[in-house]
């Protein structure tokens, strides 16, 4: 025993030396191959991929991309690839999800991109203003159907996947026209909404700009506009009539939508790439390495975060309604307390994710605060809803609930 105690410092020393040697070995490159790898990495172009995925207004919001921009600045890639995947017609997060009774579950009404044109503008301007000018920005469209197609035409370097579609951006124009009471106001509102979309697509105006590019945007944003095209060498010439060689949109009641193949053939896009490797080949960069940035995680966390919060908020709202109905007789106070708890839970979810409020038809914290005050008053007075007159309908609930 005594001997082992005596040897203890020596054993410790041996362990320390061994540990240091191991860590040094781990740090050192693994011979010539490792050195070669390092050299290759140094020569490679660094590529950072930013997903822009889901519904405009909830999944796609500028505030999450502020964090992404900070990460991009830290990682200093040579190329930033924006992967745009947003469609009013399919669930871009889960193509395989099929309900055995209902078929594919995609609530078009709720999942259709919100007409947040100023927010989309903010997002696009942010990438232009805040990222260094020498960082090449490339858009890779996986799908851009609906309002998001304005973003789909908002980068100068623009590629698509083979199955991608782009177009139907005119919902905001239709809505604005619909809000007008006469033809003058309709022209004013409609044109203003259209110019809002043009403002976003202006960031995709290359130098030199195709003089007829605006005709394409006209046809994608305004249902009454048709579109035909002919090729002059590698340049398309478009017009909002059906007279040119190829008619792309003959329908006067729907906005134009194009496939990746059409865009590629007519040189509207710069090419079609199925994978990031294909894309890099098209960009002339055979050696590249993907930067492990935070963008993917930030976008995924936000998607899960706000949707979970929305589910909780709906539960809380239903629970609030249930307990308000039960608030009578001897259960009056306890039911009100439960309703209050549900309302507070609803408030915290709305507060944390403004997207929840949007999805619930604009149920703001101000509104919930008033509902809470109403509850407080009921508790104090021991009577039903204040104000008399049979309750007056109560607080406004979420849309569609």
């Amino acid at each position: 025993m005594m001997t082992s105690v005596r040897k203890l410092p020596l054993v410790c020393l041996a362990f320390l030396l061994a540990g240091s040697a191991w860590s040094l070995a781990a740090l050192a490159p693994d011979g010539v191959d490792a050195q070669a790898d390092l050299d290759t990495q140094e020569d490679s172009v660094r590529v950072y991929v930013v997903p822009i995925r889901g519904q405009v207004g909830t999944d796609i919001v500028p505030r999450i991309y502020e964090e992404v921009i900070e990460d991009i600045k830290e990682q200093k890639p040579d190329i930033v690839v924006f992967e745009l995947e947003s469609s009013d017609e399919r669930n871009v997060y889960d193509d395989n999800f099929v309900d055995i009774y209902e078929g594919e579950v995609f609530d078009e009404q709720r999942e259709r991109s919100m007409l947040m044109v100023p927010e989309m503008t903010e997002l696009r301007v942010m990438f232009d203003d805040k990222l260094p000018g020498d960082m090449k920005q490339v858009l890779w469209v996986h799908d851009a159907v609906g309002a998001s197609s304005a973003l789909g035409l908002a980068w100068c370097d623009f590629y698509m996947t083979p199955d991608a579609k782009i177009g139907n951006m005119g919902a905001s124009v239709r809505r604005s026209r619909g809000a007008a009471g006469d033809s003058n106001v309709e022209a004013k509102f409609g044109q203003a909404a259209f110019q809002g979309l043009v403002r976003i697509t202006a960031y995709g105006d290359c130098d030199p700009m195709n003089p007829t590019r605006r005709k394409l945007i006209n046809a994608m944003a305004m249902p009454e506009m048709s579109l035909s095209v002919f090729m002059m060498g590698r340049q398309y010439m478009m017009a909002n009539h059906k007279e040119y060689e190829t008619v792309l949109d003959a329908n006067d009641e729907m906005e134009c939508r194009l496939t990746a193949e059409m865009c590629d053939d007519l040189c509207i896009s710069d090419g079609t790439a199925e994978s990031i490797e294909d894309l890099m080949v098209l960009l002339g960069e055979r050696q590249f390495m993907l930067v492990e940035g935070k963008a993917g995680q930030i976008v995924a966390d936000h998607y899960e975060g706000w949707r979970d919060a929305y589910a909780r908020a709906i539960d809380a709202y239903q629970s609030y309604q249930k307990w308000m109905k039960r608030a009578s007789g001897k259960n009056f106070r306890s039911s009100l307390s439960k309703a209050e708890k549900a309302l507070k839970s609803l408030r915290s979810n709305v507060m944390r994710y403004p997207e929840v409020s949007r999805r619930m038809g604009g149920l703001t914290t101000d509104r919930i605060d008033i509902m809470l005050r109403e509850l407080e008053k009921m508790k104090r007075s021991g009577k039903g809803r204040p104000g008399g007159g049979g309750g007056g309908g109560g607080p406004r609930g979420p849309a569609g609930s």
Partner: protein, 447 residues
Amino acid sequence: MNKSRILMLLLVSIIGCHLASAELLAQSVRVPYKNLDGQRESIRLQQGDQVSIQFVSGRKAPQGITGEIKEISLQRGKFIKLSTAEGDQIVFLDAIRSIEKSDDVDSPMKDVKDVPAPKVEKEDAKSPEATASSEKNTADQPADLSKKGMFVLRLTGMVGEEFRPEEIEEIVAQADARGPGQVIVLEINSGGGSVAEGMKIRDVILDACKRHRMVAWIEYAVSCASWTALCCDEIVFKKGGYTGGITIMNGRTTAPEATVIWWIGELQQLLRKKNRPAAWALPFVLEDSYLSATKDPDTGSIEWFTDQEQTGEMMFSEPGKNLYFDYENGVEWNLAVGVAQNEEELAELLKIGDWEPAGTGRKLNTDMVEAKKRVNSEAQELQYELQNAGNGISGINKRIKVYKRFLVIMRQYPNIAANSLGMNPKYAKKRIEEMIEDLEWQKRQMR
């Protein structure tokens, strides 16, 4: 000998442990707290950080304290111990409403070698928030009067609400204080609003034009915001910017014919005053008009046509279309002098020469935006009070109190308050006073 070895070992391990724990203490930790809105926030702090903390105590207004962090406890009694000029002080985490790290706060306790080199942040000239914060810094520095001041006032939201003549007057006063010949830039991002306010704005701008160079810098300016831009001497677009659609409306329909004719006349007069073609007025307002133009390729002079045959080579307006200019055709057809994305580009485009940013225009805008949020939030509560006041004497008293509060808000923000009540701003004050008088009478009758 053996004992001494064991003692040595123990000593070494104790020193090691101390070093490790000292390192742990110096490590940063995330400190959670709730902000003034009750929202959860957190900040990474460590011993030695200079911080400014806002905290609440009882029902008093939030107080501030600045000092160096001596200790952070996140176990049981959660608190931050600060070393301040008045000695050590403890702030409990649940009382904290904001924490700001301030590396530049002078601290007598801080060793000079520990002070980090000043961080040179790349100021983003294009971001209004960033420029607003830089305004704070420039406001404290003495102005270099040999340079021209560029006073940028951001105008957003609805004309008459956040976008008001008062703020334009304020920025003009700031420019006046520096002397004549300054450059005042109205950075416009608005879809329009009240024509009555637009007329006041015109008077303020035209008066300021006598002493200063007034520039409209357009992100988008529709309707009355477009009118505001046309009041300025020069127009510059941001990329993608557009302006137009100056139809005068009542609700969602065009105003009565007499009003429209008056409005077109006002617009023509303004266009002429600023050396712009008066032919634009009609298509700016009405959709059933024509406008086309031809540009001489040699001289660059432009001729405008309003005939149905669209004589000009470029068509601007036809039935179904209001006149709008965007950042490309606006520059090409002489509405605007060019496109600028930031203040540097703007200064270069306008050939200002030596200049420096001046005034607090962006702060005026952020203050107004905040004020509108606040007023709208309070107005919702007041509306609720009104609806649920009841009909007894106490109910009447409550309503009188609410209306009086509206009158107080109205003194500072007349249009926002009136709009929140769904009233015409022109008559809102009088109407509310009448309602208060009526309620007072009802109260007297009940006694």
